[in-house]
Amino acid sequence: MLGNEAIARGLYEAGVKYISSYPGTPSTEISEVAAEYDEMYAEWAPNEKVALESALGASLAGARSFTAMKHVGLNVAADPLFTSAYTGVNGGLVVCVADDPAMHSSQNEQDSRHYARAAKLPMLEPADSAECRDFAKAAYELSERFDTPVLLRTCTRVAHSQSLVEQREREERALMPYAKNPAKYVMNPGFAYKRHFAVEDRLQEMARYSETCAFNYADIRDTSVGFVCAGTCYQYVREVFPDASIYKIGLSFPLPLESIKAFAAKVEKLYVVEELDGVFETEIRAAGIHVDGGKDLFGNIGELSQSKIAAAMGVPAKENASFTEALPARPPVMCAGCPHRGVFYTLSKLKLTVLGDIGCYTLGASAPLSAVDSVVCMGASVSMLHGFNTVRPEGSGKCVAVIGDSTFLHSGITALTDIAYNRSVSTVLILDNSITGMTGHQQNPATGYTLKMQAVPPVSLEKVCEGVGIRRVRSVDPSDLKALEEAIKEELAADEPSVIICRKPCMLLKYVKPNPPFSIEREKCKACRSCMKLGCPALRFEAGKALIDNTQCVGCGLCKQLCAFGAIKEA
């Protein structure tokens, strides 16, 4: 089972009733798999803040509740997170956060362990799929026993690795009784002040518990070296040093500092191995425990691995082969037939400044389209455009924001409201491909289906834009390059805010039938390379002429529109 599937199994067995999440690699499959169990309600929320708040509501109502998100999602959900630490829970509440060291599919590699400390919430860190299931279940016991939300932290190598997992039956649980309790749940300054004492007391109690928690344990073997580690780092260390002593951390906040001190006394040298920041190391050192090596050896950027740990510890490298010739990189690309391609081709052709956002369309930044000027976080395209245009009003006509349908609903609406309300002359392109593409095809409020594939009325993007005060709202088919270019030029020329909805479903959706592949008449091709500007993986140059790879072409027709010599034909 994948770590993510194992967490979903743990939720099921723990009798969880309510799951609300927003997709984000590497957390997405937890909620997708959980949705396959009929006994659990599961939904995609529009964003992580809404997801966590709704799970907190379900907890208040007495249900065991859950939300999962990627590390940056926790930034969005941080506001309710911090105050839910004050209210505590009624039914158990677990927040899973999946970090992505090495940024396999993320825009930064922040370390979520800081959140446990900042919000004063306990955190569990499983090291494989079996622990994912066990820890998910145990998290509910902890949550209810200590009256606190619990953070469950994974990373890519735990979430997306598969290992064996035992399964048990589900324990069905009645809702906890609900009783109005303003002193606990109405966090006005008066009540919140008192609750802060409860939070600090709980933290002390949890610190004592951490010393006895079965997930924190010393495995004493050869005592010449000892390692302190958690999660996937434990696996790497154990693989390189099968005989070393290890203090394995499962409950990673509050740390069991007394037990670590006792462990340190038993080993000659103590190393702290952790990915990203030196969170454990700092706390262990602050407790007066001598550490022989940590961040100075292992670094704080990217993922660790067995070879990195071996190298840092002076273990000789394994013999290997190597290929010395330079290889062309193989970066991800927009698929053949991707509806985003025409948009970025046009933006690039018009030499516009493009404030970008996060989704498949981030690939519009790659060569040869190279159309994107900035990508920061979900929703930032629209708000950054507003700031950009406000201080450079003369450039308004040369600057756009691009944002996907799911991203717009996640956090673009408030930003568009800023444009409409404070009247910057800004043009926003919503790239509506009828799905949340980047994270592997999740439904969203504009697609008309829920996570459990129930048909529902879709959000009207047009009406949302009009509703916040944009008068110029139009939609266009982005595979019609001429119409698209005209629409963009017209809206950029207008002297008020505008939105263009570029609407065409993702080619990979099941209901979208590909067209037969196009072909190129070699004699007519003048090798002008116009079509190559699209960066389409189905097009290549061979023996001096353009060629269409018929295993990849889906007949979107963009290249045909660009060929001035009529060399490209429909099948």
């Binding site: 590497p26 396999h104 690795s161 190597s322 060569a367």
Partner: protein
């Protein structure tokens, strides 16, 4: 000692399914097994990697430098990209089919010439046109099962029936026969 298989290819070639089938076979053979995969960005036609590790007890889910007993490469140069992962004496099983990455398509870089010959000089290499065999089996999509068939020859302790059963269990029913055929074509290649 755990054994390691690394599967490399281009997003969309079915590397994930291959690693899952291999994992399923190994679990049924009674091994402790770990698989590791990366989702997200890499699915979009980029270079993709999955790992399969098995033995009495497996710790790290990833395959690191000099550790792979086998690299199964779905494309002609992807094996070269990860060759440093191959252990001394390990075997590279590679498809000879070439898929041009974007920097080659745009002319920014060139595709290496005769990659298979160069690889053969560097390590034990079994190269074949898996795409042709997949077509023979009935679908270009079966490249992954053809290559698994080749790999199966290098794992003599695992019975043919276990592989075929895994295909029956994990492949969509309407593609089972085709994939079994592709597997056998690879196995006998």
């Amino acid at each position: 000692m755990a054994k390691s298989i690394m599967i490399v290819g281009v997003g969309g070639q079915g590397t994930l399914l291959a690693s899952r089938i291999i994992g399923y076979v190994l679990v049924n053979k009674g091994f402790d097994v770990k698989l590791s995969e990366v989702h997200g960005m890499s699915q979009r036609g980029g270079s993709v990697v999955t790992y399969v590790k098995y033995g009495d007890k497996v710790y790290s889910p990833i395959v690191d430098k000099g550790e792979a007993d086998f690299i199964l490469s779905f494309e002609a140069i992807e094996g070269a990209r990860y060759l440093e992962m191959l252990k001394k004496g390990g075997t590279l099983i590679t498809n000879t089919h070439e898929i041009y990455p974007i920097p080659v398509i745009t002319g920014a870089m060139s595709y290496p010439e005769n990659p298979t010959e160069k690889l053969s000089a560097l390590c034990d290499t079994k190269a074949l046109d898996a795409l042709a065999l997949a077509r023979e089996a009935g679908s270009e999509k079966a490249v992954n099962t053809v290559l698994m068939g080749v790999l199966s020859r290098y794992m003599p302790d695992i019975e043919e029936e276990l592989w075929l059963k895994a295909i029956e269990e994990l492949v969509k029913p309407k593609f089972v026969e085709l994939n079994k055929k592709a597997f056998m074509l690879g196995r006998n290649a």
